[in-house]
Amino acid sequence: MFWKKKVPLIIVFIMGFVMALQYFIPSDFSQKFYDTYLDWGIVIGIFGGVLGYFSFFRVHIHKVTKKAPNWQFSLISILCSLLMVVAALLGGRGTGSLFMQLFLYTSAAINATVFSLLAFYISSAAYRAFRARSTQAAALLLAAVIMMLGRVPIGDSISFWTRWGLPSINEISQWILNVPNLAAKRAIILGVGLGSLLMSLKIILGIERTYLGSE
């Protein structure tokens, strides 16, 4: 019990307290301490990385061996990752190396494409969900439309009313961005910021310990 629960909580408290204090102490010693922590943090992170890779291979190998539905795709994934390792061993990682080419022309290309699907999703979402059901929904809708017009050249071209000294769509969208939008975001930042601060504090005090998991 002591070794499994108490000690970690003590470590958390000490580390948290010291690091928070360190921020206010510019002295040479405190800086050295800080640098050491940076080095250590990096190294810990490095080995923490293993966890992810392990889980990846475990999940997919598991699928293949169990012949779970679509197991072939898991096989492909595994082979591809191995292929990358081999490629790196053969040709290095420099520009134009097999390794880089593979990455750029498969993974990079595919990811970019998949996220470009969002262009379609967002259009259909807008079409489906942007209904002026309530005044607030209308406000959201309007803001979005103005923003869409204001951020592209055509917005300037169609705001004919500027000749009467009225602000162009572009300027209006700028205003929405810099004023109401900014206010909304700041309100959220101020609140959410406090939330995460409290979380950090609770972690330091050992009140929040979910991350340690139960045994």
Partner: protein
């Protein structure tokens, strides 16, 4: 399915083929030229060699050895990665132009290439002289297999393949001329500045172009034209070989450092190693021949710029000593000893020593000489070797009186690690400049080709004239085709630019100005203020420097009151006095030779920070001397300041506000946590979202379809994720009660483990551990897209009736929500991530916005601790609101000191 795997296998094979196709073809690299840096302590060696464009290879290693046997790698240097280009351009075939390549051999270096155009007469002699007919030139590096067909030889020279382009040459060429030229011509142009004109092309350019296709050697006249119409030739191809001429000169300086040792008089052997590929298993490389050198500790090099002035007014001499040579950084000069002698003493032997100073001194003041004296300087280096300068006569002059800045002082820099010492002086000064600009000047364009205006370039700018008859146009004159210029758009804007010449003791924050009663402050100290559409006329500008306390700096220099002339478009720059301050650091106030130059600053500085590499070196007693240098060479020198030493501080007072903030925060938090611990149940208003959560669950059970619960992409110490986990507990429990299946695909392993525990416990509490299936709470991959794709797949396949998205999300949020919506599931989302909220709001049936997520989790878990911290959050929010109101009121009332208190710069 089989087809797919086979497709994949083919794909595998292809890529492997590529890997192996990378052939290994590289000639021996050139032997490095070794140069011993003169005037140094024999601790620097410069390596030089040529890298030819067509030599494949990823990097050079530089190797050094003392015995010629075991070499150590000093450093790797990357080569430019080659881009291989196809060779099919017909214009690169020059066989019909009759060019011959002749190689002129050289002493221990590559031959020099000459390209000669053969005529009937000289063809035979060229061939007999070993000339080779050039069949093709290459402007890029051909593919490896292409290159292997011919032996690759190397020669020196820069050549260009000229393929002139009539179209480009005939394009009108831009140029700008002052407006007055047109006035002289009698053409009125209401331009704001210069007028840009478009001219017919130069005669010589057309001539150059008309000469046709050819090969030109660099360095010939009309190089700019060559560059414009030519491309540098990488290699010449003859029947028997490819001669590469394009190369870049690689240099590397090997010098003594904490990593590497180097001694004068010791013999070192170098070679370079060219790597083809860098493969852990097997390295493919070629070594150059070795070359040896014995670096020497040369006698010191005397300063090449010594200026000795004798000021008649003050009867003192000042000597300005400078090393302008680029190599001076390597010199190991230690001291200058200045001798006084007579003009007869040409050998500089009979002088009497008058001053000994460190060799880093830039200027010396000598009181004990008179105008007839002649000086010479003996330079001594670290090794004790000496060199004398020639005789230095004193040039009699009358120097302006120059004074040191007031209140010079040295201080240990506050709130730092202790590795900085500051030299500070006064007075804090507000320097202001301004510019009157035209907001939206109109662009005017005019075609004047018909007006027959010609431009003739001359030494002083050139002239314009009109000539009806082209025949009387002097050669070199070019016709003006088009004009473009800007005319005022009416609205004027006045830009005030200012600088605060202060040091950190003045605690200056920003400038405050008022233009004829119109006040403006520059809270973020951007150094610029704008007064929009101002009327023409004179204005008076008053300005002050505001301190962090909110009060103004008192001294007159820090407050300005100036006239501003806004009658026309012009600008008045900030003017900086032409002084320079040299700073020297010494360890002994008595012995001036211990003082070393540490840096210089301009007259706009009020502080010089001497930054040491580490605390230890800074933690000694130091003295400083400041020299003020006038534009005419006058020098004023301070007494040694100090002693002072770098002290590392134990509290950063500039972060006091933050510290206070932390205290308040922790105080409030602890208060509520304490009460929560004592089991006090705080009231939390019901959150609308929770109803919807239950509703969704109910719906799922009616339909007997599973639930999908997403904990987001956040890590386990992320508040959003933790709240999500809490809510998951509740959802899972209900799910267990209603006996409907729940899927929890996870993004990070740690979250997965915690989620598994949570769900398992929930099922236990609900008394249905039998329904719990470990497989349903699983890890996918810590890759955004892979995760999104897999989850979408899950939702489509399982036709989930209810989807929950709670936690931290990024771009994938819409993919998830839209796919979910397309399957017609009822969806509840919750995130504190501003950017993703809009998508959940549009695509989901209900969304917990920002803190509502935390609130919901607090509300669901009857854990008093969570409610307690939510309460604390509310309390702190209340404080924030009060501060906001008070702050805005204070700002409105002009009491900036209040808002400034929150500026909380932290650090400086």
């Amino acid at each position: 399915m089989k087809r797919l795997t086979s497709v994949f296998l083919i794909f595998l094979i292809i890529t492997f083929a590529f890997a192996l196709a990378n052939s290994s073809y590289a000639p021996k690299p050139q032997t490095p030229k070794l140069i011993d840096i003169p005037g140094d302590a024999g601790t620097n060696v410069l390596l030089q060699w040529r890298h030819f464009e067509t030599v494949p290879g990823i990097r050079y290693d530089i190797l050094r050895s003392e015995d010629g046997k075991n070499f150590e790698v000093i450093t790797p240097l990357q080569t430019k990665t080659i881009t291989y280009e196809p060779q099919d351009q017909p214009e690169n075939d020059v066989s019909d132009l009759g060019y011959f390549l002749v190689l002129v051999p050289q002493e221990n270096d590559l031959p020099i290439a000459r390209v000669i155009k053969a005529t009937e007469e000289n063809r035979d002699s060229i061939i007999s002289a070993g000339g080779k007919k050039i069949l093709r030139v290459e402007l890029g590096v051909p593919p490896l297999e292409e290159m292997e067909k011919l032996p690759n030889k190397f020669a020196l020279g820069d050549f260009y393949r000229v393929i002139p382009d009539e179209e480009i040459a005939n394009r009108p060429q831009p140029m700008t001329v002052p407006q007055k030229l047109f006035d002289a011509l009698g053409i009125k142009i209401p331009s704001l500045g210069d007028v840009s004109i478009e001219l017919t092309p130069k005669a010589e350019e057309l001539e150059f172009v008309r000469k046709g296709k050819r090969i030109l050697a660099a360095g010939e006249d009309n190089m700019p034209l060559t560059l414009k119409y030519g491309k540098q030739i990488v290699s010449f191809v003859t029947e028997d070989a490819r001669y590469t001429v394009k190369s870049d000169n690689i240099q590397f300086l090997d010098r003594k450092s904490d990593k590497r040792d180097m001694e004068a008089g010791k013999h070192y052997i170098y070679k370079v190693r060219l790597y083809q590929k860098d493969i852990p298993i097997k390295k493919i490389y070629v070594d150059s021949d070795t070359a040896g050198i014995t670096p020497q500790d040369e006698p010191p090099v005397v300063p090449d710029k010594i200026e000795a002035l004798y000021d008649r007014k003050s009867n003192t001499a000042v000597i300005h000593i400078n090393q302008t040579s680029g190599l001076s950084a390597f010199f190991d000069n230690k001291t200058y000893t200045i001798f006084k002698t007579t003009a007869e003493d040409t050998a500089c032997e009979r002088g009497s020593e008058i001053r000994k100073v460190s060799a880093s001194i830039r200027a010396v003041i000598l009181k004990d000489v008179d105008s007839t004296d002649v000086l010479y300087i003996v330079v001594e280096d670290e090794g004790g070797q000496t060199t004398k300068t020639g005789l230095i006569p004193l040039t009699p002059v009358e120097l302006e009186k120059i004074s040191l800045p007031p209140n010079l002082r040295v201080r240990d820099v506050e709130n730092d690690r202790g590795q900085q010492i500051a030299i500070r002086w006064d007075p804090p000064t507000l320097a202001v400049g301004y510019s009157v600009e035209d907001v939206a000047p109109k662009m005017m364009q005019e075609k004047v080709a018909s007006k027959n205006i010609f431009y003739l370039p001359t030494e002083k700018g050139g002239t314009l004239f009109v000539a009806e008859d082209p025949s009387q146009v002097p050669d070199g004159a070019r016709k003006v085709l088009n004009l473009s210029y800007t005319v005022p758009g009416g609205k004027k804007v006045l830009k005030i630019t200012y600088q605060m010449w202060t040091n950190s003791e003045d605690k200056a924050l920003y400038g405050e100005f008022s233009l004829d009663g119109k006040d403006k402050i520059d809270k973020d100290n951007t150094g610029e203020l704008q007064f929009r559409n101002i009327a023409e006329g004179e204005y008076s500008l008053i300005g002050h420097i505001i301190k962090s306390s909110g009060s103004r700096l008192k001294n007159p220099e820090a407050n300005i009151d100036m006239k501003i002339d806004a009658t026309h478009i012009h600008s008045v720059p900030i003017d900086v006095p032409p002084y320079i301050y040299y700073i020297y650091r010494g360890t002994d106030a008595e012995d001036l030779s211990t003082f070393e130059y540490v840096g210089k600053v301009g007259a706009d500085a009020r502080e010089f920070k001497d930054i040491f590499d580490d605390y230890k070196t800074a933690h000694h007693k130091y003295y400083y001397i400041v020299q003020a240098i006038g534009p005419d060479g006058a020098v004023a020198q301070s007494e040694p300041l100090g002693p002072v030493e770098g002290i590392s501080n134990w509290f950063n007072t500039s972060k006091l506000v933050i510290f206070f903030g932390v205290l308040v925060f922790v105080g409030v938090a602890l208060f509520f946590i304490y009460h929560a611990k004592r089991g006090k149940q705080f009231y939390i208003r019901p959150i609308a979202g929770i109803v919807h959560i239950d509703e969704a669950l109910g719906r799922a059970t009616e339909m007997g379809k599973p639930i999908v619960y997403i904990t987001g992409l956040g890590y386990i110490d992320d508040i959003a994720t933790l709240s999500s986990i809490t809510i998951l507990g509740r959802v899972a429990r209900k799910a267990a009660e209603y006996q409907c299946r729940i899927f929890v695909p996870c993004y990070t392993p740690l979250v997965m483990i915690v989620a598994q525990e949570t769900v398992r416990n929930a099922f236990l509490d609900a008394g249905r551990p039998d329904l719990y299936n470990e497989e349903d709470v699983y890890y996918i991959a810590a890759q955004q897209f892979a995760y999104a794709a897999a989850v979408s797949g899950l939702m489509i396949r399982e036709k989930s009736a209810a989807n929950f998205f709670m936690g931290r999300f990024y771009a994938e949020s819409l993919i998830l929500a839209e796919t979910g919506a397309s399957t017609g599931a009822i969806q509840v989302a919750g995130t504190d991530d501003m950017t993703q909220l809009p998508f959940f709001i549009t695509a989901c049936d209900y969304t917990l916005i920002g803190e509502e997520l935390y609130a919901a989790s607090a509300y669901l878990s009857n854990d008093p601790m969570q409610r307690g911290s939510l309460k604390a959050q509310d309390f702190l929010k209340a404080i924030e609101m009060i501060l906001l109101v008070v702050g805005s009121l204070a700002a409105t009332a002009g009491m900036w000191w209040f808002t400034n208190a929150f500026r909380a710069l932290g650090g400086d």
